[in-house]
């Protein structure tokens, strides 16, 4: 296991640079949108990675609720953290792309809104973890994660209705994808996924170490043994 970490690190570095090269040089320039379209290779893999991480968070939270297993809690925490980062990337690259292509920064389109709501839910999840003062933070967080997951399909349907009633201006994409673009997209996704796993893994190790240190400090009374002298 210990050996696997540096191997993964090297693999990620290689994949990322290869993917960058592919995205900027190899992939064909899109006919109507031009070079701006290359943001696509970051936009879409980020979205997929974020969704995958949120799914991981949900599974880990359920496991925690059933087993009360610290490892599951740490997995839930780090996947939410990294997921929010990738989701933010989507929310930033999207408008950057939208401005030149659609002429507006934002529209209440289904996919956009869903992404925004997901981001809101998981930011509130992280806030709860931050603010929770009790020793039961993991429990509360797991409960909130389950609620968030229950909410996602409902959000999807509500916005779907909403949109059919008030159709929004322009929706790009659709149509068929050039197979060369598809290949580059997959390479980028693989690279992002490796990167996400790498970050999660190191966060996981740090978090576990921190908790162990805290426990030993408490038991040995390293800081101070008693309040009253």
């Amino acid at each position: 296991m210990k050996r696997a970490f540096p191997i993964l690190a090297v693999l990620t570095a290689v994949l990322l640079s290869y993917a960058l090269y592919q995205a900027l040089e190899v992939a064909p320039t899109e006919a109507t949108m031009g070079d701006v379209q290359r943001i696509f290779y970051y936009h879409v893999p980020s979205a997929w990675t974020a969704f995958l991480l949120f799914l991981t968070n949900f599974v880990a939270s359920v496991v925690y609720l059933i087993r009360r297993n610290t490892k599951a809690d740490i997995v839930a925490l780090v996947s939410a953290e990294v997921g929010v980062v990738f989701c933010t990337v989507v929310l930033v690259t999207g408008p950057i792309w939208a401005r030149p292509v659609w002429g507006i920064w934002w529209t209440w389109d289904l996919r956009l809104t869903l992404t925004l709501v997901l981001w809101l839910i998981y930011v509130s999840y992280l806030m709860l973890r931050r603010f929770s003062s009790s020793g039961q933070t993991p429990l509360m967080a797991a409960v909130l994660a389950v609620f968030g997951a229950l909410d996602v399909p409902l959000v999807y349907f509500s916005i779907w209705y909403f949109r059919t009633q008030h159709p929004s201006p322009v929706i790009g994409g659709g149509g068929s994808l050039d197979p060369r673009m598809g290949r580059v997209l997959l390479i980028n996704w693989a690279a992002f996924l490796c990167f996400a796993v790498l970050v999660c893994w190191s966060r996981y190790r740090v978090e576990r170490l921190q908790r162990e240190v805290e426990e030993t400090q408490a038991l040995e009374g390293l800081l101070e043994s008693r309040g009253a002298r």
Partner: protein, 224 residues
């Protein structure tokens, strides 16, 4: 003793105490009145425009008033740590939850009953769609706000700066419900399209989250 009779006992106790002190209802009422007045000042309603926006207006007022009430839900149980007395007793957690949720439902419903005539007068509202659907939407929507609100209020009492924590937890999860409430109300008021899909969505939301709350409340209550 069954859950339902315990729920009734707790609810009766809460209503009695609230009736004596009138904490929550006062701040809610005040807030809601101000909202109505602000809107009536800021917007010279011609009937057509007001009807399009009234659904949103009414529900935003209710949502925020509900947050004010929900924030106080557990305050009484925290003073003198009475909650611990509940936790050491064999009474099921869910009957406490239901009592609190029903209590909040009653508060918010009373508030709505008081404010609706005001809105109708100020905005000269008249439903062009099927009017009988309005109370259904109101009941389903209020329950949607209240059931999650009660639950998250119970979670936020375990956190620092709990007053601001409640909206932070509640709003993201409530987005589909708010959307459904607003759209259903607008649909009924304007009569342009059917409110049924929105009502179905609200009902689904209520069922899903009521189940979720009942399943998980014990866990939240027993966290210290």
């Amino acid at each position: 003793m069954t859950t339902s009779s315990l729920t009734r006992a707790t609810l009766a106790k809460d209503l009695r105490l609230e009736w004596r002190s009138k904490d929550a209802i006062n701040s809610m009422l005040f807030f809601a009145l101000l909202v109505v007045v602000i809107f009536s000042f800021s917007f010279n309603p011609t009937a057509e425009e007001s009807r399009q926006i009234a659904g949103g207006l009414v529900w935003v007022a209710f949502l925020f008033a509900a947050v004010v009430a929900l924030n106080q839900t557990w305050a009484r149980e925290l003073r003198n740590q009475v909650l611990d007395a509940y936790r050491v007793s064999p009474a099921p957690a869910n009957s406490l939850f239901l009592a609190k949720a029903f209590g909040n439902f009653i508060f918010v419903a009373v508030l709505e009953a008081l404010m609706t005539p005001l809105f109708i007068v100020f905005y000269n509202l008249r439903a062009l769609g099927p009017t009988w659907q309005l109370p259904v939407v109101a009941a389903l929507g209020t329950w949607a706000l209240v059931v999650n609100g009660t639950f998250f209020a119970a979670m936020s009492i375990r956190t620092r700066s709990r007053e601001i924590m409640l909206p932070l937890l509640l709003f993201p999860i409530s987005i589909p419900a708010v959307l459904a409430m607003v759209e259903a109300t607008s649909a009924i008021l304007s009569g342009e399209y059917s409110a049924r899909p929105w009502i179905a969505l609200l009902a689904t939301y209520d069922v899903v989250f009521t189940t979720g709350c009942l399943l998980l409340f014990e866990t939240v209550l027993d966290a210290e």
